[in-house]
Point group: C2
Chain length 452, copies 2
């Protein structure tokens, strides 16, 4: 059954088994102890990751679909039987569907430490068995959307809404196939213009973008012959890579190839060297040739600090292709979201549950987050018990009811929310580098949560 | 067709479209220029990642299966038609199968900068279209196997073969579903004892391992009641989590619960606090109770430096559960493998191809890597043109011939190779932290590669 060289791809129902073993052992025990009354779990981060002043939430949409599809099939049940799980529990799993409620910050919401990004209310076993899947999807996609938002802010000189200058070039450095699909989606949430990943573009309706590789140029007798061949094949959309040999000669060859073929040169890409200086060189040559509309794309290990520098210096760059740093959030490659039991209903009434381990306390009870915005700027958040009235807007909305998805949004809706959110973050927290000592965004915890 | 909330999971044939757009545009141009003679591409890193003195190669087995399965189906072809690709090229894609050869370092081989990890010899279009998929799989899995090897070395006090002390606890922090599956597999290659990820354990025949969560303990009236319920359900395999309230009382409760139920206490897990001190405390209490065989597992943001410290201090710890750092290679979260055209046969004869961009030179021609081992220690590698005789063992072996997989190994075989390789790395490069100025492993480039 097991196969060391299996491609390792799961279908949506099969993700039911993407659990940590302890979720199954605990669930088996709950089953035998008849501890399956509804319970409440919340997903949140205890601390923001290093170099991050906020998180841009992502991953909810695909995660809810996975919850809806999860099933323990025959193969999974046989495997669990071989692992020692007993028939009574396996019978429970064989008919298990996720029937719970999810309340969540819609994707594209800005979030902070101690704020539940989502809350699951479900029979305890169901709530327990979705822990790993939810964390696996939401931690990672939130991390990427956050990184992508930082990059788009940098490309816009600190202002949101300039994502059209950023392209996801990351699939070769992403952590596997699911990562490549979700990085492209998360980048779109942050406003990126498109992705080089064609499978993701197809699946999510994104704009597929790309140019050519050095190997293409090397495959012809000369650079100019390569450019002419490319223009003949893609007369309407040619962006030519000009740094295989020498950028100045490359731009001259691109201009000449466009003249020879009679097709327009849409732009050039520079992938190495001093990008600021080379962009000026290329801009000068293109303008001199009357090609003021030809764009300049740059790439090559770019991230937000370097992009902010290029934009700040006024370099004539139209587009940034961002790969490794966008796809891995290299400077801060984890979001440490946790999924904690906060309330249960063992005895008929709801009871808040808190954990007291050293340095790892959990606030008890179901919570809501309230955000006050004044004159377009976020003023502060309050984390309060669900149901306690508070000023501002509540951030957690109904996303799933009795196992049915009730919150489904388009990527345009989500990206619009993200853009509005980023525009309302205090300006001090929108820079590529936040100086030490900068006042963090204020998040208050309602006294009724800590007094208990 | 596109769906913003799609789970985003691909089947093996669908991964044919996991390409960067430029691979398709270049291939379309090659098709029209009739440039589809065999070409040679090599995958290698130009520099080792920060904090890494070697790489442990992984990802080949699943990647070859994906190459074998890739197909452009009807849906993909319609999408590409809508993107503007013409009928002649789409017809080529509709029957395209990967028919090339792959030579590769088997998984579990140690590799260094400038050494091809794999080499593809295939009709140019096929060779081009598999670029992203190969990089996506091999970069990431090699990164994780390398990190996992560092962790297992630390757990063994710098000696390989003590991987049985390390468990993969990472799925909640891995970058998506494919990442979670492949992290577990890569960790097994590095010798880890097992994984908490049940789907990966099933698919890859790994040992599923786990304990319980704090939420389980919080779900009962008291800690002792929770432990007793768990022992009743899993009398043969109970490892109890003892830090929900207070570790000392937790261990006492675990011992008492075992006595009450009459089932053996297999071990305890500590997930927070001063692990060295708490491990001593737990060991003392367990020994006092005559439970010398009960193991101590620790977890909580562990990585190799911290583990090396705990092992060096002689802390009585049997097992390390490693999550975030193992699954994301947090201190060095990318392997910058590239995939470069190195030779083609445009005019009937093979021709080496080199790239000359600033700082990004590529050595021309198909290459082999030779390793000299004396008295069980690696002495140095030589990168030479394929076919040039050299002393030592050649590292690249036939892995695929005419699209058929010819190198398939079990995870035991691969882990055995990895363990032998790690044992033969010079001891100065086996520490959790390599001091600045440490002599790197010597890799020579044959003069015939640079002279050309």
């Amino acid at each position: 059954m097991a196969d060391a060289n299996d491609p390792g791809l799961l279908s949506a129902p099969q993700t039911a088994l993407l659990v940590d073993l302890y979720e199954l052992t605990m669930s088996a025990s709950y089953h035998h102890e008849r501890l399956d009354a509804p319970a409440v779990f919340e997903l949140f981060v205890r601390r923001l990751p290093p170099n991050r002043d906020w998180l841009l939430v992502a991953g909810l949409g695909p995660a809810l679909r996975l919850l809806r599809e999860m099933r323990f099939g025959e193969a999974e049940l046989s495997y669990l039987r071989a692992c020692g799980f007993d028939d009574s529990f396996l019978e429970r799993l064989s008919t298990l569907r996720f029937t719970g409620d999810v309340d969540a910050m819609p994707e594209g919401t800005l979030a902070f430490a101690d704020e539940p990004l989502l809350r699951v209310t479900a029979p305890r076993i169901e709530g327990q068995l979705v822990e790993t899947l939810l964390l696996n999807q939401v931690n990672f996609q939130t991390m990427i959307a956050t990184k992508a938002a930082r990059v788009t802010l940098a490309a816009g000189g600190g202002k949101p809404g300039r994502g059209e200058r950023v392209i996801d070039f990351s699939p070769r450095r992403d952590h596997g196939i699911d990562a490549a699909m979700k990085v492209a989606r998360s980048a779109a949430i942050a406003g990126c213009a498109g992705t080089s990943n064609v499978a993701a573009a197809m699946r999510y309706g994104l704009r597929p973008l790309g140019t050519m590789a050095h190997s293409y140029v090397l495959s012809f007798q000369g650079e100019r012959e390569a450019f002419e061949a490319y223009l003949r094949c893609f007369p309407e959309s040619s962006v030519l890579l000009v740094d295989t040999y020498d950028v100045e000669q490359g731009v001259r060859n691109a201009i000449a190839a466009a003249r020879t073929t009679g097709f327009p040169l849409r732009g050039v890409r520079i992938d190495s060297g001093d990008l600021e200086q080379l962009a000026w060189l290329a801009r000068g040559l293109l303008d001199e040739a009357g090609l003021e509309d030809a764009t300049i794309t740059v790439s090559g290990d770019l991230e937000e600090v370097q992009i902010a520098h290029l934009v700040g210096a006024g370099a004539p760059i139209d587009r940034f292709g961002v790969g490794t740093d966008l796809g891995t959030s290299r400077d801060s490659p984890t979001v440490n979201g946790v999924y904690k039991l906060v309330a249960d209903r063992s005895g008929g009434a709801w009871r808040g549950v808190r954990k007291l381990s050293a340095h790892k306390q959990t606030l008890p009870g179901a919570k809501q987050v309230w955000r006050r915005i004044e004159e377009g700027e976020m003023q502060g958040d309050l984390v309060a018990p669900e149901g306690e009235p508070a000023p501002g807007e509540p951030l957690l909305l109904p996303a799933m009811r009795a196992g049915e998805v009730v919150l489904e949004e388009s990527l345009e809706q989500i990206a619009t929310r993200a853009s509005a959110g980023l525009a309302s973050v205090p300006a001090r927290l929108r820079r590529a580098e936040t100086p030490q000592g900068t006042e963090p965004y204020p998040v208050e915890i309602s006294p009724s949560l800590t007094a208990a």
